[in-house]
């Protein structure tokens, strides 16, 4: 299949590789020439604009940083929308807001172009291992068309609902995940304040009801004090800004998420935005005790 790809960051690069390895004909557009050159070495054609990319692709994937980036790639000057033929599909795998996803789906519908919001969970490791969890919003028929492609990127693809629903699921995912990181950090902090070996405490908890993916992965990083980024914390900070904005709009109280958001604000202020979100432990350490 002729496919397009936009967004060659830590997530996008391995995803591009999987699609090429599955035998598809890939083209990319990239803002940074060095990213385009790397994609070319991996076997992808390089297009000069998103419009050119869309014109030669049946399906275009994007995984960029913010909602504004997606809007720019899709409907900015020389955007994808200018190049897509009727029946083309834009699968956006970025994390944006449900509102942005719904707006883009609506604008594409007017052009006869199909849309899926399909944000992912699993991080760079999941992207490399093709074990991502993919949460899709859009029409079932569109998802059915791209399902084999998504299956080469992740081990679990769930159709959550209409356009925007994927982003709602992703927002829920971020809320549960980062709140769990904060809970791990607080547990590690409490154990350390008692003078205990946090590695042993974590190991004990992993055998019981508190066992979780976050206690395993992020708790592990806290124990080894490895704060180099798996996922850069500023991305989680960005996500919390989006989801608390949605909570305001809908009149939904999110008391725990609101508290975690404040800890993330503190993390940003302390200059750890480029570090791993396990740094929430360092925020607690700074706030008291030793």
């Amino acid at each position: 299949m002729k496919l397009g790809f936009v967004g060659l960051g830590a997530m996008g690069r391995p995803m591009l590789g999987h699609l090429i390895a599955a035998g598809h004909e890939l083209a990319v557009w990239a803002r940074r020439p060095e990213a385009a050159a790397e994609a070319a070495r991996a076997g992808a054609a390089v297009c000069a604009t998103p419009a050119e990319l869309a014109a030669r692709s049946e399906v275009v994937f994007s995984i960029v940083t913010t909602g504004a980036d997606v809007i720019e790639v899709a409907f900015g000057g020389n955007g994808l929308a200018e190049g897509f033929r009727r029946g083309g599909v834009h699968v956006d795998m970025s994390t944006t807001s449900p509102t942005v996803a719904r707006e883009l789906a609506g604008r594409y519908a007017g052009l006869g172009v199909d849309w899926l919001d399909a944000p992912v969970s699993g991080g760079a490791a999941g992207a490399q291992a093709a074990t991502l969890a993919i949460m899709a919003g859009g029409e079932a028929a569109v998802l059915a068309r791209v399902q084999p492609l998504l299956a080469t990127l992740g081990s679990r693809v769930v159709h959550v609902g209409p356009a925007g629903a994927g982003q709602v699921a992703k927002a829920c995912n971020q809320m549960v995940m980062v709140s769990a990181i904060e809970a791990c950090a607080e547990a590690m902090r409490l154990a350390a304040a008692h003078g205990l070996d946090v590695a042993v405490v974590r190991q004990a908890l992993m055998g019981g009801s508190a066992a979780s993916r976050m206690l395993e992965v992020m708790g592990g990083r806290m124990v080894s004090r490895d704060f180099s980024a798996g996922v850069e914390a500023w991305l989680h900070h960005k996500d919390f800004g989006i989801l608390l904005g949605e909570a305001h709009r809908l009149g939904v109280p999110l008391p725990i998420a609101a508290q975690v958001w404040q800890q993330l604000n503190a993390l940003m202020a302390l200059g750890w935005g480029q570090d791993d979100t396990a740094s929430l432990l360092r925020v607690l350490e700074l706030a008291g005790g030793t």
């Binding site: 608390l244 904005g245 305001h248 109280p253 999110l254 404040q262 604000n265």
Partner: protein, 293 residues
């Protein structure tokens, strides 16, 4: 002074009336024409647009709901900038984000119009009694010119600093009143559910370190179960959003304000948005297994 007033809601109406009472000549325009009636009866002159008002006065004042309204009144079609004479000072007394206030003021400055942000605290009661606290950001010269008008509407008038500084002070005010209302509601609910007369608790606390205006005024209204606004919960929710978005932008931890903002979200979501923000008491009662009527 010839002064224009735009936005005649719960706050704007009594504020404009106080300008009339102080002997100023007041020109009004508002989106809902029927809102002008009480002002016209009191001697104000009605107009067809903000631009028309601006063409006749030395100072225009806006008191509207949110940042897009402020921008529309100042810079939109038929807005103040379209009609302004040289030397006009435009004063926005609405509560919006500091960054938004600075952006509108900068665009007005390009057109040669000095702008002040001058949000208020004191609620409808303060607006009627002309006892508002007015927090002003902008140039000293513009502030000096408008000061007599501020004094006709409020009791405490302070120039905090440059453009946006008034809104920063108002955001601080909303943190204190928002968290304060929630704290008073929690304390009174705690007393009641512990089987103690909440009225007597309030009275006792008024003499100690827990004294606050909120405990005195809002606390009494909670005891009276008088949830009529006042200051509507959805407006407090909006103000807390401004605070929390600024905190996000600046990288500031505001845990108590964050918790309070979620309470206001819950009020709006459960249909209490039109109540006074003291209705947070009802929410706490419901969360604690009570009726919360």
């Amino acid at each position: 002074m010839e002064v224009g007033f735009i936005g005649l809601g719960l706050m704007g109406r009594p504020m404009a009336l106080n300008l009339l009472k102080a002997g100023h000549k007041v020109h009004v325009w508002t989106r809902r024409q029927e809102s002008m009636a009480p002002l016209l009866e009191a001697g104000a002159q009605g107009h067809a647009s903000a631009a028309e008002v601006a063409a006749l006065v030395e100072v225009t004042i806006s008191m509207v709901a949110d940042a897009p309204d402020v921008e529309q009144v100042a810079l939109g079609a038929g807005g103040v900038a379209e009609g302004a004479r040289p030397g006009l000072v435009h004063v926005d007394m609405s509560t919006i984000a500091p960054a938004a206030a600075q952006a509108v003021a900068a665009r007005m400055a390009e057109k040669g119009i000095a702008m002040l942000d001058a949000p208020v605290s004191g609620g409808e009661v303060g607006a009627i009694a002309a006892t508002l606290t007015i927090m002003v950001g902008g140039e000293q010269a513009a502030f000096d010119k408008v000061k007599p008008l501020f004094e006709a509407m409020g009791k405490s008038v302070t120039r905090i600093g440059d453009s946006g500084a008034g809104q920063v002070a108002k955001a601080c005010n909303q943190i204190l009143t928002g968290v304060g209302v929630a704290a008073v509601a929690e304390a009174l609910n705690f007393a009641t559910r512990s089987g103690v007369d909440a009225g007597r608790v309030r009275e006792a606390l008024l003499g100690g370190f827990a004294y606050s205006r909120v405990l005195e005024n809002h606390g009494q209204r909670m005891l009276d179960r008088n949830f009529k606004p006042g200051f509507k919960a959805w407006m407090h929710q909006k103000d807390m959003r401004i605070v929390m978005e600024e905190a996000h932008r600046l990288g500031l931890a505001l845990p108590a304000a964050a918790a309070t903002a979620q309470m206001f979200n819950a009020m709006v979501g459960s249909g209490l948005g039109e109540d006074d923000s003291i209705g947070v008491l009802k929410l706490l009662e419901r969360m604690s297994g009570g009726a919360g009527e």
